[in-house]
């Protein structure tokens, strides 16, 4: 999850900066510690978002509860409701933050692979698309809970969460089209990328549900070929 660094102020007993790597968010020391309140809050929020993904991987959308998220985050129920109105608001925040990270990762990789001078030809476009897809799958394989969160179909009754998933499909589709689009070529079929991304996410969901990240890694060459064949 997002990295958070706490730099110790003068009120800290230890003058050295306190660094917190939020990959597995730690609990801050309880009681009076002089860490500024807004940093404590930001850290609690990160822990809750991380816990939401973990709880979802554990329990699925059918059984997940705010109580389990709270427990995994190591905060009180009161703290949970200070941050989020309900379970769905917490899951939505987790979804949106991870979806943004995934897209930024892909964008960064695709942008990095076009810096060479000269005209962009078909082969360059395909290489860029390959790099982007590999980056996306690498990101998901490194964090299976996040892979599960982003790929699973949420309950349609939770409209905001369903919309967030649709937005992600749309955004990934736009990225794929943007990378592959030939400005002089025919306009590709509208909606085809959405189908391809939908199919790709279904495969990620089924493999992420196994809980074995290696299975996600294995997907990379095949999925790259499948995503590129019909475009």
């Amino acid at each position: 999850m997002t990295e958070l660094r706490l730099i110790g102020g003068t009120a800290l007993a230890e003058p050295a900066p306190v660094e917190l790597e939020a990959a597995t968010p730690l609990r801050l020391p309880p009681g009076r510690h002089g860490i500024p309140a807004d940093l404590v809050r930001a850290h609690q929020r990160l822990r809750l978002l991380d816990a939401a993904a973990t709880a979802l991987a554990e329990q699925g959308y059918g059984r997940i509860t705010a109580a389990r998220v709270t427990e995994l985050a190591g905060v009180s129920s009161r703290t949970f409701y200070q941050h989020f109105e309900d379970l769905w608001a917490c899951l939505l925040a987790a979804y949106e933050s991870e979806a943004a990270r995934l897209c930024e990762e892909i964008e960064a990789v695709c942008a990095a692979s076009v810096e060479e001078p000269g005209p962009i030809v078909e082969a360059d476009r395909r290489d860029r698309a390959r790099a982007g897809i590999a980056a996306a799958l690498g990101f998901l394989a490194a964090e299976p809970n996040v892979a599960r969160l982003l790929s699973a179909e949420p309950p349609p009754q939770i409209a905001a969460l369903s919309a967030a998933r649709r937005d992600l499909v749309e955004r990934l589709g736009t990225l794929l089209r943007g990378v592959l689009a030939d400005p002089d070529g025919p306009t590709p079929l509208p909606g085809l990328e959405r189908r391809l991304i939908g199919a790709g996410l279904a495969m990620v969901a089924s493999r992420a549900a196994d809980g074995d990240p290696r299975r996600l890694h294995e997907l990379e060459p095949e999925l790259t070929e499948l995503l590129l064949t019909s475009l």
């Binding site: 009754q157 909606g191 189908r195 391809l196 279904a202 060459p221 999925l223 499948l226 064949t229 019909s230």
Partner: protein, 208 residues
Amino acid sequence: MEGVLAACGELGFREASVRAILERSGGHRAQFYQHFESKEDCFAQAYAVWIERLSVSLLEAAATVQGWEAGVREAIVRLFQFVTARPAIARALFVEVQIAGEPALARHDAVIERLAAAIDSARAEIEPAEAPPEATGTFVVGGVESCVCEALSAGDPDRLWDALPELMHFAAGSYYGKEEAEGAFERASIVLARERERLTGAEEGAEG
């Protein structure tokens, strides 16, 4: 058995109580717990029966015509007919199953594999050097499924029909590449126009 799917399709798996299920299927709470351990168990059993029926029906539809492309198209048409005729049941089978968790999901994966194996018969017509990835069948079935889920989640199953040409482009393209995909798109557009005529004809017939 249909009661649990109707209740979950209408209210959502999380919100559907045993009481809501019994309101739709009849019977008493005590009887319910004689037959099923829990709501999950009841859903999984009903799911197994209905998904079996649906997948057999899709495979039969595919077998009524000659050739891979026509077979896939007929199966998708049959699927769309089912979804638009029984949207609540379809919501349970396609969307709520993702929420219901194991053991319904295990059955779901088995059905996907079976349909994927059927679609993979396309491979017989392709030169080994040109063979698509092993996972192509699963990929294509997943694409069709995600399209159905999208329409059902958006509460607009009728919109599904518009996706027929696009889905055929996607399915044929995944196996045979771009050129075949464009042909499949054109042919599916013709079938779509025919289906639309049939649908409006049936509506007018019902009114008149």
